[in-house]
């Protein structure tokens, strides 16, 4: 008679939620950036920062973390070749050097990337960080024991597809060369102009081979960042970080590291986290969260309270929630049916189900509405705010369904998630007006994830979402629309099963560009071109709103993560 909670569901949802999983939980102000709440808002060193989270920081090993831009808490301990610019808004979507002196020097066709390490880099024990350690860190991320990271290294490095990591294969990866202690060279099997973005991920963290303890490394990873791990209880349920005295601002322009100590507590219910932050009692006054947003109910309360409202940070993470079609399933093989549904969708009720206009912005493009992605606004099947059922009926008639039709919408049963029953019901209600009867098929979350990512079982009509591995069109469009990324016998993300030669060719052409601004423009144009095929119905981009404790200063929220950057926060 006492049963599992919605927290558990939420936790589960997040853990399967691709990119969001490890580091990119989010919040922060776009409009009221970088502002503390106290009278004197100048940040000072010292004090203890408390982090109240719902999901534990599991598997705290740089090889296993799946982060966007190195993550939030992980980035306090792990430095990488490059990192995200720690500035608010769009400036924060840029990639900047971290351990390296620059963001990487490509050869002519962007297949070879060379990095030089800064001088004087040290681990928490005072020993020097070398380029061989970075190579070793990348190699160990290939070990099946330490799986979990993003797929790009395996896909891009020469000869990496079959590599099983340094424990089984002592020879190592020949695609990475370390001619001297400060130089590291990467050989890629195809041009990748966005390699500097990839180098922000925690797999590019140096790991001293002598200190590697395999699967036990997560208990005490060796720090290269401003803080070292002094306590890691029960696989990241409670992590305590203290200053790493060998870290210095002389080699790190990005991390401010104001507090002396960071205490990360997790396993809390999201409503409790928000209650505690709003009450700000005791140590909670100097607390933030890196994974819990304000929900709609809490937002309704916070907006009526001046003090609380001033402590809310708003941020935008590159993320899109959409309806996906599988064009090999009838009647979705007919583009007119797909278009009809695009016209019939009522985005305002979907947005309300997702938490209202403050927590979700209507999406008509697949790419997130940010400059770094190359966002080019378009609305190919204008449904207005509340849908255009008349136009949808017309299209259905042309498609041969003058009396409407009945379809099944597959979604996850996970609560409070973008693919949840609430969103599905909103769509069901809207399509009714266009004569489309929607039956709902709710699946248990793991089942849902297996079903939609398997070409053999993929349903015709389902809810999906995609988040940015880094703020660019590449990791957003390529996995979903590149025909060569269709996986027949494993997890497939090209759910529209699109294999269009011109799209594939354009993806290759953009990947060659090392001018990231020029690349962004072309990603935007490609997005619009793919949009014409109506393989998805973009629904909304989420907005992250989060509370901070009353003593928190220097809240910086970038468009890269959409959440407050914990390396910038001060408690004094």
């Amino acid at each position: 008679m006492r049963q599992p909670s919605d927290t558990a569901r939420r936790v589960a949802a997040v853990s399967v939620g691709l990119v969001l999983a490890a580091g990119a939980a989010a919040c922060g102000p776009k409009d009221n950036d970088a502002k503390g709440s106290g009278g004197d808002s100048t940040p000072h060193k010292g004090g203890t920062l408390t982090v109240l989270n719902s999901s534990p920081q599991e598997n705290f090993d740089p090889a296993r973390l799946y982060t966007s831009g190195g993550g939030n808490v992980p980035s306090l301990v792990f430095r990488t070749l490059t990192t995200r610019n720690r500035e608010a808004g769009a400036a924060g979507a840029k990639v900047v050097p971290d351990l390296a002196t620059d963001t990487g020097r490509p050869n002519k066709d962007a297949t070879v990337w060379t990095y030089t390490l800064k001088k004087g880099l040290k681990y928490e024990d005072g020993t020097a960080i070398t380029s061989a350690d970075i190579k070793y860190g990348i190699e160990r991320s290939f070990a099946p024991e330490l799986s979990g990271g993003a797929p790009y290294l395996r896909d891009w490095l020469v000869g990496a597809a079959d590599y099983q990591g340094p424990y089984k294969d002592k020879k190592g990866l020949s695609a990475i060369e370390t001619p001297d202690e400060r130089t590291i060279v990467f050989h890629l099997n195809k041009p990748e102009g966005e390699f500097p973005y990839l180098a922000t991920q925690t797999q590019f963290t140096p790991v001293p081979k002598a200190k590697d303890t395999g699967t036990k490394y997560a208990e005490h990873p060796v720090s290269s960042g401003p803080y070292k791990v002094v306590e890691n209880e029960n696989n990241g349920e409670h992590i305590v970080l203290e200053r790493n005295k060998y870290w210095s601002t002389a080699t790190d322009a990005e991390r401010k590291a104001y507090p002396d100590k960071v205490d990360v507590k997790s396993g809390l219910d999201s409503s409790v986290i928000n209650q505690r932050l709003s009450a700000s009692q005791g140590t909670d006054a100097a607390a933030v969260t890196t994974d819990t947003n304000l929900g709609p109910a809490e937002l309704a309360k916070v907006t009526g309270d001046k003090d609380l409202a001033s402590r809310v940070g708003t941020g935008h993470f590159g993320y899109t929630n959409y309806i996906a079609f599988n064009p090999t399933v009838k009647p979705f093989n007919n583009i007119k049916v797909r278009q009809a549904i695009s016209y019939a969708v009522d985005r305002s009720s979907v947005i309300n189900a997702a938490g209202g206009s403050a927590l979700a912005e209507a999406a008509t493009t697949y790419l997130p509405n940010q400059k770094s992605f190359g966002y080019e606004p378009y609305d190919l099947f204008p449904a207005g705010k509340t849908g255009n059922p008349a136009k949808a009926k017309e299209l259905l008639k042309e498609a041969g369904y003058p009396n409407g039709l009945t379809v099944t919408l597959t979604h996850s049963n996970a609560k409070d998630f973008e693919t949840s029953p609430e969103i599905a019901t909103a769509i069901q209600d809207a399509l009714k007006k266009a004569g489309i009867t929607v039956k709902l098929q709710g699946l248990e979350d793991n089942d849902y994830s297996d079903t939609i990512h398997n070409v053999k079982t993929e349903p015709g009509f389902f809810l999906a979402h995609w988040g940015a591995d880094w703020p660019s069109g590449g990791p957003f469009l390529a996995p979903i629309f590149d025909g060569r990324q269709i996986v027949k016998d494993g997890a497939n993300f090209n759910t529209g099963l699109l294999n269009d030669k011109s799209v594939n060719a354009e993806i290759d052409a953009i990947n060659k560009l090392t001018d990231l601004d020029a690349a962004a423009k072309r990603w935007g144009a490609l997005d619009k071109k793919i949009g014409e095929q109506a393989l998805t119905v973009p629904l909304f981009h989420p907005v992250y709103k989060r509370l901070v404790g009353k003593d928190i200063r220097n809240v910086v929220i970038s468009d890269w993560t959409g959440v407050l950057d914990i390396s910038q926060v001060a408690v004094k």
């Binding site: 569901r9 691709l18 029960n234």
Partner: protein, 332 residues
């Protein structure tokens, strides 16, 4: 005493069989459950080759009976496992390693169990006080205001899900009135006072949800006993009402209360998930839910066995108490 020794032996054998049956059921259920374990462990973007490597690593490709045999073997003789850089031994009784984190399941249990036990034992004291107290009052002082108020509270506790009671209590008591700190688990050995303060609200919440059962049961059983012949005889002999209720009627109510309490105690060790999640108490229940969601079979089996152990233990204790309370009962 030989009767008790026989009882202990029989119960131990039965307990082992019960726990084995539980573990078999879990293995079978998880075998039939959707969710690609290797893919979940490896990560959503792993390639088929990587997934295959992980599956081999975790022995997921072995037939079910072999995997189960490996599990039994671990309990009896321990297991060797690789951390990648070295091979380590997990000594018997070894429940294996988590698929997700490579932690020892036994280690996880040892960290989670004190939290769950702290929660359930404290709550049990409260639900017995509140429930049995209300039950006695309502059997003995029917219709009085105190009885009505207490009955109302216990029924409200029963009819409102714990996550509602817990959250509302927390918002009011901790957030608005600031009477108590927000619940947090501090280990008893670190600071007994903080331990109690941090758990007070969870105890109360859990107890409120349970008390009504005890109140109703106590009341019903006491009314039953009060009408029995010997009570009337006592009354006729002029034995005081207080003594009749306290000594004799309550004694008759003991058996069902003990039975119910054993049941609730056992299942609450793993079943207080809602409370653990809401208040962020890192106990067995919360871990179990998480493990089920990520299909972490070794952890699930470990947690269910712990819960099973306490259910079995609580029932055995209940049978002993029951026999002590009622000499007519023979331990079987």
């Amino acid at each position: 005493m030989s009767g008790f020794a026989g009882f202990a032996v029989r119960r131990t054998v039965a307990a082992v069989l019960t726990l084995l049956a539980l573990s078999v059921i879990i293995y079978v259920v998880f075998y039939a459950t959707p969710g690609n374990v290797a893919q979940i462990t490896c990560g959503p973007r792993c390639s088929p080759e990587q997934v295959h490597q992980v599956a081999q690593q975790l022995r997921l490709d072995d037939p079910l009976y072999l995997r189960y045999w490996h599990f039994l073997e671990g309990i009896v003789v321990g297991q060797d496992y690789s951390t990648g850089t070295s091979v380590e031994h997990c000594s018997a009784p070894c429940l294996g390693q988590s698929y997700q984190s490579d932690q020892q399941v036994m280690q996880i249990i040892l960290t989670k169990l004190p939290v769950s036990l702290s929660l359930v034992i404290g709550a049990m004291v409260l639900w017995l006080l509140l429930g049995v107290g209300t039950g006695i009052l309502s059997a003995w002082r029917r219709g009085r205001l105190s009885e009505r108020v207490l009955t109302g509270i216990t029924l409200a506790g029963l009819s409102t899900p714990v996550f509602v009671i817990g959250l509302v209590l927390m918002i009011v008591v901790c957030g608005q009135l600031e009477l108590l700190p927000f619940p947090e688990y501090v280990s008893f050995s670190d600071d007994p006072e903080q331990w109690a303060w941090g758990l007070l609200l969870p105890w109360l919440t859990l107890a409120l949800g349970e008390a009504a059962y005890f109140a109703r049961l106590t009341r019903a059983s006491m009314l039953e006993t009060l009408a029995e012949d010997h009570i009337r005889t006592f009354r006729a002999y002029g034995v005081g009402e207080r003594s009749i209720v306290g000594r004799h009627a309550l004694r008759g109510a003991l058996a069902p209360i003990i039975a119910l309490n054993a049941n609730d105690f056992g299942s609450a060790v793993g079943g207080a998930v809602l409370i653990e999640s809401l208040f962020g108490l890192p106990g067995i229940g919360q871990e179990l839910v998480h493990a089920v969601n990520v299909v972490d079979l070794p952890v699930v089996v470990g947690m269910v066995l712990v819960i099973g152990f306490f259910v079995v233990l609580a029932n055995a204790v209940a049978d002993v108490l029951y026999a002590l309370a009622d000499r007519r009962v023979v331990l079987t």
